[in-house]
Amino acid sequence: MKLLNLPYEKYKLNNGLEVILHKDTSLPLVSVNIWYKVGSAYEEKGKTGLAHLFEHMMFQGSENVPKEMHFRYIQEAGGTLNGSTNFDRTNYYEKLPSNSLELALWLESDRMGYFLSALTKEKLDNQKSVVANERLERYDNQPYGLAWELVLKNLYPEGHPYSWATIGYLDDIKNYTLEDVQNFFRVHYTPDNAALVIAGDIELNKTKDLIDKYFGSIIPSVQKKEPAITDFRINKNIIIEHLDNVQLDRLYLAWHTDKIYTNDDPTLDVLADILSGSKNSRLHKRLVFDEEISQDVSAFQFSGKFGGMFMIISTAKPGVSLDRINKIIFDEIETVINRGVEDKELIKTKNGIKASYIYSMQSLDNIADRLNMYNFYLNEPNKFNFDLLRYNNINNKDVADVCRKYLSSPFVELRVISNKKNK
């Protein structure tokens, strides 16, 4: 599809920083998007959550940018900004009126090259406290908020880079030292471990000059180590029960699958959609619509650089035992394995995926982030069409095959049970 073929220019600075430029003049806006090739998978035992904490520290100013001014300068220019951390990477992005591109490059380069001199214990203590509160608000005080962490901990062996959640454990968050943060910067926040995407209303030559001006003199530092992983599979089912301050019980099932952009990865997306992606999807129809024993059900393939997993999550209606839900889920899995899926289900899923790709092209921030994502995983930014075509070639048998290959293996079953006494 022409719409999904994005022209770009890609090159490397002498210090190793990768640069990707994409011109789109439909609005006077520009998105600047940097991926640092570090996420929580690169943390060590006892220091979980450090990558995410570090993301917070990057907004606390650098040598030439006082605390709070990073946010202020971008907002003053009419921009929006944020960052996010996941297992594999940390990204930072801003979208501004295109006449303020230089401001964004100044800010991003200052914290890439001149960060450590502005780092203080006071700033660290403040952000440790903010992140501890973030954890309380979004995990500990949320219904089912600890489920994700529990699934990861049980599905992956200790030490596996995906065996803890990106937010990190509260005790670890409280114990980071200034030295931890400094070391993390030296090892991971170096230009040869980052990629810069600029997308939007730009002049290519001028933009290259500006990039050179601001990023060219940054010196690369220590080289990082990739986390060691062994291909791990659990060999028997692990069933855990967790009491939570909730009204309704909820079931989580998780299987090991394959990494991102491997052959089976898109087929597992399709399987997830056929199981739970629409009102008439198999699990939704049976659990939520016909039998009404679940309030909701969702399934998804989650995949990254170091592993993948398939999850099915379903919330029980009041008084319904999780065993009943569990049984139906496995019935439906059996049915897919034995009888495959129908053409019309496959068409529905493929059409939905195609349309949502097109809808997602509305936002420049999303386009910039995708260019970085494809470059990160596939070493080629313009993989929009490829990404979508992965789904086109999937047939009924492929879906049944991945279902058998992965979902008949041992799994983690987490049962979150209401602690309310009057049940």
């Binding site: 719409l3 609005l27 006077p28 040598e63 709070e68 946010f71 202020r72 300068y73 907002q75 003053e76 220019a77 009419g78 929006t80 979208k95 009126p97 006449n99 303020s100 401001l103 100044w106 203590d125 403040n126 440790k128 406290s129 903010v130 501890a132 509160n133 973030e134 309380l136 608000e137 005080n141 219904p143 050179d212 001006k213 601001y214 003199s217 301050n245 909730v246 009204q247 309704l248 629409s278 009102k279 008439n280 129809k285 619509f289 009404e292 309030q295 919330t315 209606k317 009041p318 019309k344 529905k348 059409n351 195609k354 349309a355 949502s356 097109i358 809808y359 509305q362 936002s363 420049l364």
Partner: protein
């Protein structure tokens, strides 16, 4: 190139941004259509807003509008719920029906090549809903369970309590759109049918849309599917009283909470009865942005919270102002005191630097408010709800520019009322009670709806 890192780069020459043209027509049946053409993608997005939201829910029937919206697309013109959803899904179209305080909204996002096929289904749902008993009962059970589930969520509970308390009980905005469990249990299918026939009409509806088609082409398609819609309805007049009382703490005891969810606020005059732009800038300085006073104080200076924000929430005929945050148990009282003192302080006015900063960020961000189809239909929906003229968008930048610091100060004194601001806390009473007494405010325990125990 030479570089001096000490110096912040300035932006280059002024940018030119042409606002997309707003096009409008009213069909013979009274349906008003407001459209913006945007050619970037082969996509159309539309929102049919029927003014029959939960503000019309009568006492004892709280939740009727929402349940009507939930049953509407569960069967129409002989098609079952699953056939309807499969229809949209196979087209790659996203179709939803929801109810908010003002309207029931039928929303569609589709590839433009599938617009006609999508509208074919859309119009069946709108014009020929079946309201079958079976579907009604299923959706009723679904929303009842949903309400049970939401009672676990501290932010939902805190917001519901605040909105109940800041308005007088005769004000329909005091009640949650989803309704109350005990009212929903008593609803009958005939309530929904009556609501539908009494409230769904082109004369109280607006269709806002953005897409890549030409306006004329879009209108032709719309006419094909909506011309036959000819029901008429009676208008219902509602009253919207505000209530101002002395500040108090309202506590909902959620045992074993590791945080307190906090809302501090009061009702406010509606959007159109006070100059909008001073209010917009005032809130931007006080708590509307990351770099606003409240967040910088509570998060970046004190480290009490992941975030703290303020907002004027505008309904068509009422409004309320509130600050929201969540903090650990031990910082609850300090956070509350800090918020009240920020509300006091802003009444002394703002600095020129703060005002210039807020103006700059709002003015320069303006073009990006029209980036996506969703943003455009959202802007048009705001225009409909508050009856804004088209010139609202064209004169926006001039209007922001011309606000003086005197006007901000006056707005703060008129509209930020710490002595009347209720403080709602959802948290663990045992862990909070003693420290809350040090505020000197009355502490009143409420249930999860905001009713005094």
């Amino acid at each position: 190139m030479m570089i001096n890192r000490k110096v912040k780069p300035e932006s280059e020459k002024e940018l030119f941004f042409n606002l997309p043209e707003i096009q409008e027509v009213t069909l013979d049946n009274g349906l008003r259509i407001i459209y913006i053409q945007k050619e970037k993608l082969p996509v159309t997005r539309l929102n049919l807003m029927i003014e029959c939201g939960s503000k019309f829910d009568q006492a004892g029937k709280k939740g009727l509008s929402n349940l009507t919206s939930m049953v509407l697309d569960e069967g129409a013109d002989g098609l079952s719920a699953l056939e309807i959803s499969d229809g949209f899904d196979t087209l790659g179209s996203n179709f939803t029906v929801n109810s908010d305080d003002e309207s029931i909204n039928l929303k569609l996002q589709t590839l433009t090549e599938q617009l006609e096929s999508s509208l074919n289904l859309f119009s069946k749902v709108l014009l020929k809903p079946d309201f079958r008993h079976l579907d009604f009962e299923r959706q009723k059970r679904k929303v009842l369970t949903r309400l049970l589930q939401l009672s676990d969520e501290p932010d939902f509970t805190a917001q519901r309590i605040l909105e109940y308390l800041v308005f007088s009980q005769s004000n329909p905005y005091a009640y949650p759109s989803l309704g109350y469990i005990e009212d929903i249990e008593n609803l009958e299918i005939d309530d929904l049918k009556k609501y539908y026939s009494g409230k769904f009409s082109p004369s109280n509806s607006n269709l806002v849309a953005a897409g890549n088609s030409k306006f004329e082409d879009f209108i032709k398609v719309i006419q094909n599917y909506f011309n036959d819609w000819n029901s008429s309805v009676e208008r219902t007049d509602l009253t919207y009283d505000n209530k101002f009382e002395k500040k108090k703490i309202f506590l909902f005891n959620k045992k074993d909470s590791v945080q307190s969810e906090i809302r501090i606020g009061h009702s406010s005059v509606k959007r159109n009865s006070y100059s909008f732009f001073p209010r917009l800038l005032l809130n931007a300085i006080l708590g509307g942005q990351f770099t606003s006073r409240i967040n910088l104080n509570l998060r970046e200076a004190k480290g009490y919270t992941y975030g703290a924000f303020s907002n004027f929430n505008y309904f068509k005929d009422s409004a309320f102002f509130y600050v929201s945050t969540s903090v650990s148990n031990e910082n609850t009282v300090d956070a509350i005191n800090e918020i009240y003192s920020e509300l006091e302080n802003i009444r002394n006015g703002v600095s020129d630097a703060e005002l210039e900063f807020a103006k700059s960020s709002i003015i320069k961000k303006f073009p990006s408010n029209f980036e996506t189809y969703r943003q455009i239909t959202g802007n048009l929906a705001t225009k409909v709800i508050h009856s804004l003229p088209n010139s609202f968008f064209n004169s926006y930048i001039d209007n922001v520019s011309s606000v003086s610091s005197e006007l901000i100060k006056k707005a703060a004194q008129d509209l930020i009322l710490p002595d009347n601001a209720f403080c709602v806390i959802v948290g663990d009473k045992n862990k909070l009670e003693d420290s809350l007494k040090t505020t000197g405010m009355d502490i009143i325990e409420v249930d999860d709806k905001g009713k005094i125990l």
